[in-house]
């Protein structure tokens, strides 16, 4: 199935062109004249992508041909945006991109038989949750805007939530693969509502508890929302019971409502979302300026490097432009058209990711691909939705675009797992029938 890889190679060409053009645009804006540096950056990026492509040709010849180019598109676009904000940040981001590719390759190299993950599901789940606590540990924990999101050990800083999302998806995919039958069969109808059997639902409640715990202890509304939404998506796909989703959503809302009224940080976030104009200079400043930046962009945007990020001679006009607010900056600089383009890329990734899940032969692969895709697109939704005031603004990164090492690296591992599932699924689908279809393929 080398045609898949040929298509991948072809798809990488526009990515490199996009990056080169983007850098060229930023350069011409800042340096009046065009240096050849933009071409050099474009060439480096293309070389890295080619190397990855060749690696995929050898290791995963049958994997989905579009996922990698789509994610490379986002990375390229993110690099240009970050470069436009700050050259130094872009250099960091480029290094993390390389590190991300390395981890991507290592994952593919050593996790070819990704079923081993199933064996360690509890270890992975507990590890993922424990690492979440790290930001609260004295000495290494960091508090940003009232939320405990980061860990800093010496020069190394990372956000555990980015890795925990992978752990939780792996755990849920494995657990649900095993228990989905009993969850479906054991369900009881009480007062016309289908309830899951309590015995098997226990571990599921743990996920709810973990989400609530994150809300209170880490105060990370964004990750909490993201994890729980991914959980509901997996629960729905595994059981086909929409009532479970409704019950889960109700539980989350009740919990969130309870904590929103007791935990000041969460309460404030929701308050700002509902009434941003009440304190436009302070608490409402970020979301309002996000919206003002978008209004400033209009249909076509101001062009790369043309938007205002800081008040001349003053503070930030668009706070956290390189991380949380990067989508607002995108709308500002490339307009509604550019932003819709970015959203379309996420939609295409969703399409390809769920396609992988559809093709996958066994239950674990199906649920794993679904979970990975779901958590990825939900993360994009949570931050873009926050920036556009669809939901309260929370601090999660825009996958592959926002500045942030943990985010880039974790998402490349996510991509690697998705491609691993895809490679096997597509190979099995192409092979003549003979092997027995794996469990759950007919559900």
């Amino acid at each position: 199935m080398t045609s898949a890889r040929n298509r991948e190679l072809l798809a990488l060409v526009p990515v490199a062109a996009l990056l080169t053009a983007g850098f060229a645009a930023v350069f011409s804006q800042e340096n009046e004249q065009l240096g050849n540096l933009s071409l050099i950056y474009g060439a480096y990026f293309l070389a890295l992508c080619l190397a990855t492509h060749i690696f995929l040709r050898i290791r995963l010849p049958d994997a989905d041909p579009y996922l990698f180019p789509l994610m490379a598109t986002l990375t390229a676009f993110g690099l240009v945006m970050i470069y436009r904000i700050d050259e130094g940040l872009a250099r960091d981001q480029a290094n993390w991109f390389v590190l991300g590719l390395v981890l991507f390759a290592l994952t593919i190299q050593f996790l070819r038989d990704y079923e081993v993950l199933e064996r360690y599901r509890y270890t992975i789940a507990i590890g993922g949750l424990l690492v979440l606590l790290a930001p609260r540990l004295p000495g290494i924990g960091q508090q940003v805007n009232g939320a405990y999101l980061g860990v800093k050990i010496g020069p190394l800083a990372f956000q555990p939530a980015e890795f925990t999302k992978l752990a939780i998806v792996v755990f849920l995919a494995s657990y649900l693969r095993e228990h989905r039958e009993v969850l479906i069969v054991g369900a009881r109808r009480v007062l016309g509502v289908t309830l899951p059997p309590l015995k098997h639902f226990g571990p599921m409640l743990v996920v709810w508890g973990a989400s609530m715990f994150m809300l209170v202890f880490i105060r990370d509304l964004g990750s909490s929302l993201m994890f729980f939404a991914a959980f509901l998506a997996l629960l729905y796909v595994a059981t086909g019971r929409f009532s479970f989703v409704v019950i889960g959503m109700a539980m989350f809302l009740v919990g969130a409502w309870f904590f929103a009224s007791t935990v000041p940080h969460v309460h404030e976030r929701i308050d700002i979302w509902l009434h941003p104009y009440e304190d436009p200079q302070d608490s409402g400043y970020q979301i309002l300026n996000s919206i003002f930046a978008q209004a400033d962009g209009g249909l076509f945007g101001k062009g790369f490097g043309e938007a205002l990020i800081t008040v001349p001679g003053g503070g930030p006009l668009l706070p956290a432009a390189q991380t949380d607010m990067i989508y607002a900056l995108i709308v500002n600089e490339v307009g509604l058209f550019g932003a819709v383009g970015v959203v379309l890329v996420y939609m295409l990734i969703a399409a390809r990711g769920f396609k992988v899940a559809l093709l996958a032969g066994d239950g674990f692969s199906k649920l794993l691909a679904t979970g990975l895709t779901a958590v990825f697109v939900i993360q994009a939704f949570v931050i873009i939705g926050g920036v556009t005031r669809v939901i309260p603004l929370t601090g999660v990164t825009l996958p592959f675009i926002s500045y942030g090492g943990s985010s880039i690296v974790a998402n490349f591992v996510l991509l690697a797992l998705l491609l691993l599932v895809s490679d096997r699924a597509r190979r099995e689908a192409a092979e003549p029938a003979g092997r027995t279809p794996a469990l759950g393929a007919t559900a």
Binding site: F292, D296, L299, T310, A339, M347, T388, A443
Partner: protein
Amino acid sequence: MNRQIVKLFAFVMVLFGVLIGFTSWWSVFDAEALKEKNANKRPLLEQQQIPRGRILAADGTVIAKSVAKGKGAEKRYVRRYPEGSLFGHPIGYSFVQFGDSEFEQFHNEELVGEGSEFSSIADELLGHAQEGNDIVTSIDSDAQRLALAELQEAGYGAVVALEPSTGAVKVMVSNAPYDPNRVPDNFSKLTNNNIERPLYDRASQGQYPPGSTFKVVTAAAGLDSGAITPETAIDAPGSLEVEGTPLENDFGQDFFGTTLDTALTNSVNTWFGQLGQQLGNDTLFEYMERFGFNAKPAIDLPEEEVSASGVFDEDGDLLRAKDPVDLARLAIGQERLLATPLQMAQVAAAVANGGTLMKPQIWKREVDPDGRVVETMDPSVYSEAVSEETAAELTTAMEGVVNEGTGTNAAIPGVPVAGKTGTAETPGNLACGGGENENQAWFIGFAPADDPQIAIAASVECTEQFGGDIAAPIFRDVAEAILNGEE
């Protein structure tokens, strides 16, 4: 499970659809409303990135210019006023944090280059940076300098000089002046200075009792309505009982069988008082309105920063012809009549221009960054105040004032001058510190009387001197400077 996966995918598509919907709402559909929000600093910051056009005096002196600060996206322009306080009025200031005023505010669109909708869209598509147009004013910088210097000697007040045939503003000064460059650092100090009120343009906003200068309007109404001719003789006793209080001439002098020339030359109160009573409310108000009273002046300054002239009640509302007024005292510029120096300059200009009042305009032409003239001020008529004949008769009478009456200090050697003095007593005026001997001293007039090139009103607050002594010399010097400058 595949069915659920497809449904989940559909749900995700709906979610992303919502994102696109919200992005469209903020970036396109609601964008204009968001730009209007007070919390939104972007429009101001962006205006700061546009090199605002220069403002120039008629001789090319740079009144206002923009200088660049910072680089790249941080680059912004800040307004500089090289001549300091000389043109603080009427040009005003423009600073992002403190807003703008006067001429800078009125001509903002041209100065930031938003003149034509089409060219700005084309520029945006072509990636041209927006750039403002220059505006050349008709202000005579030498005369402006002289007027301010003399006014600063004399006291708080204002001088306005108009070109009668076009309405072009040649001089517009207000004392106390202010330096627009100092606005950013001293904003609250300048706004809270209630004694000098430096930000207040006395020329266009200051409302003062015009005193005897208003007799020109009364005379114009009398002549033009046919109520009198230059030969009509009126008996004007030294004192006349009006509405219970005596109206008196200076030194109680009697003027029996007097015609207009003598009455104006000697500023005979009882003569004009009787003429006013004879004219009645309707006629007098109609002529006031023809000269520009009872309305904001049609000058290129923001409406909030110019004052109307007329008779005001206790609430500051303008009285109309139907309202009861003391006609005799109104006719000599008393009653509750208040006029701006700009308004009184318009009275002189209308007489000088054969009875036709032109709209006063400060700007002369708009020039784009490439030096092409975009637009030139097209003089337009405000009103046909009086007939040419009436204007000629008034001119003769006003020449008498300067030749042998109260206004001899306004005479310019070798140039016939027409004018009228005014001295309104303002005892107990708190603005003057509440003294009992303070006057509002005026002189309005034009020169040369046989071929008027310039019409001027000079007004001095809180002085113990008379209009003929303190305002007339300012008129003379400014008129001379302008006439000499044009040779």
